[in-house]
Symmetry: C2
Subunit: 353 residues, 2 copies
């Protein structure tokens, strides 16, 4: 691993001395506060510029790999025709990583969702956050070869001694969902299961199967391929689940759209949620608070994940060793109407859609 | 203005020729698809690496200012102790700019919310999106001096012939809000008015005053300073509005928290919304759909703004002239319960909070 130094700015004192003014004046000039003459402001900026260039010209900073830049990308769904920033989990993760990077004085370079190695070969960066690597992700190999520190969100499926990752506690996640559904009376809980070569799809499925075995409940699974069109594929998988005889009394989806997909499939079959079918999904989408009925979700806390990946990456960049390279985040259940058996009340008015 | 070229990747054909394989194999190797031997994959990556380095080594790319990187920052609230990514407008703008940049093959470098010029002096970038510049923003002067193309979100208050900006149609925004409130029966519509040296605060206030004059309604304004603590300052300003005699029958806030602030102030005084007071605010916060009552908001469409600033910036980077440098975005009103006079129905049950 390359040990690179963080690009630091000169002290106010150094600038003040060079410009022949007080540190308060330097602070005002640099922050755009206070009342200064234009001449004074220019003198301070010139001094700052000179010291800044002397300390770390771009070329030298790039040459020694110390840039103040953290890269972030996901390449897991490189072939999907959607931007990852439009998926709430990635959006929240990105924003939270951004805030955490800024707080530590780093810029965050958000890379296109591409497995093409050009930018990975060339871009100057101190470290990279790689969201949900695939099993044989070429970007991972390229960055390792360049010696650029890397943290993944989601543990790699083929572990390497050097891996650093932040990941959800997948067993806890599935237990939260399944225990909740069982408490709401479900006895035949089905899983709509994506097939993809990342850790999330596999570990989630494994946690579901274990829970069912431990609790003596049937494992009711329909699989669907994530690429090229998870949306259509999941709709069909959910259809197959709901057409089973006997029918499941609850369905779990593990992607952000799953709740909408399951709700639509239930409606199409005249099934009322939650009376005939309980529905829950793993999602960060706030829209599930206002669907009809509102849908129970499990949050993987991308806001926490974003902070932890940045913190772990900066530790790796600055430390020579002794960094604990694995961090596990606890998920949170947000119970809503879709998993509540309504009280038997004949006078209860159904809300229109 | 510096005319810089976009950093382009070599064609698949060039890599295929160098590696002695088909373009389909190159595509598979670079995208991690298909079934390839490790040796073939390595051969393709080596060829790609060699061509990539030959075409644009980092040092040369940096030297000629062509990096494939667009910077984005806001410096308007440099002194506020919150991250701008936590404010829904900036979060949505950033995510949408990110998606637009990626679609065009650019990376987006999100800079800390800082007026300190160090990174502005040194970071290699093809262009910068500057969100809500202040009147004498030092970053603006520095970038102009470096010859880096720049687009601002929000027109600069002191125009320069070279300015390129995307901005809201502020007159349309205020008319949408005020017409809607007037149609809901309001005759004394008050404005909680921030004081800050950016275009948004000033143009919004001006549009309000014009509308009131045109419609023969009183302009009821209380001002508050945005720095250092707009939250407390606005609470006090709204308090002064609601304590006026006669009281306003509607209050508009123009920041994202304003709706919550006005609702809390109304509750504190025993005023029911919307029965005793109509409430609306300019915000992108989805939480206003689920407050009690839900609050009418005006969206400035940061999703559109993000796309337009990226498109305009890339036009400036690549074009030698003839680019229309000003773009205006139309806002959208989202009416909710807080501006609806409830029908006089004594049997209507009030929902608990």
């Amino acid at each position: 691993m390359t040990i690179s130094r963080v690009w630091r700015r000169p002290t106010l004192g150094a600038v003040a001395e060079r410009a022949g003014v007080s540190t308060a004046t330097v602070s005002n000039a640099l922050n755009g506060t206070g009342r200064l003459s234009e001449a004074t402001r220019q003198r301070v900026l010139t001094a700052a510029r000179e010291l800044g260039h002397a300390q770390a010209t771009t070329a030298r900073a790039v040459a020694r790999g110390s840039t103040g830049v953290l890269g972030l990308t996901t390449t897991a769904y490189g072939d999907l025709p959607v931007s990852y920033t439009e998926i709430p989990y990635y959006a929240q993760l990105t924003l939270s990583a951004m805030a955490a990077a800024h707080e530590r004085g780093y810029m965050l370079m958000v890379m296109p969702n591409s497995l093409s190695p050009w930018m990975w070969l060339n871009m100057p960066m101190d470290g990279v956050i790689h969201v949900e690597p695939r099993t044989d992700d070429p970007v991972r190999a390229l960055l390792r070869e360049r010696g650029i520190p890397m943290v993944t969100d989601g543990r790699p499926l083929r572990p390497h001694w050097n891996d650093a990752w932040v990941d959800t506690d997948h067993d806890a996640a599935m237990s939260l969902l399944l225990d909740h559904l069982a408490e709401s009376g479900a006895r035949r809980i089905a899983l709509s299961q994506p097939v993809h070569d990342d850790a999330y799809a596999r570990l989630t499925g494994r946690a579901y199967t274990s829970w069912c075995a431990e609790h003596g409940m049937p494992a009711l699974v329909e699989e669907y391929a994530v690429l090229p069109d998870y949306f259509t594929a999941e709709r069909e998988a959910v259809g197959r689940l709901l057409d089973r005889d006997p029918r499941p009394d609850a369905v779990i989806g593990v992607y952000s759209d799953s709740g909408h997909t399951i709700l639509a499939a239930a409606r199409q079959r005249g099934l009322r949620v939650p009376r005939d079918l309980l529905v829950a999904c793993v999602s960060e989408d706030p829209d599930y608070a206002t669907t009809n009925p509102s849908i129970t979700t499990l949050s993987l806390r991308p806001d926490r994940v974003g902070v932890e990946v940045v913190d772990l990456l900066i530790s790796l960049i600055n430390a020579r060793g002794g960094v604990n390279r694995h961090r596990v985040i606890q998920p949170v259940l947000i119970p809503r109407r879709s998993t509540r058996k309504p009280p038997p009340n004949p006078r209860r008015r159904e809300r229109p859609e």
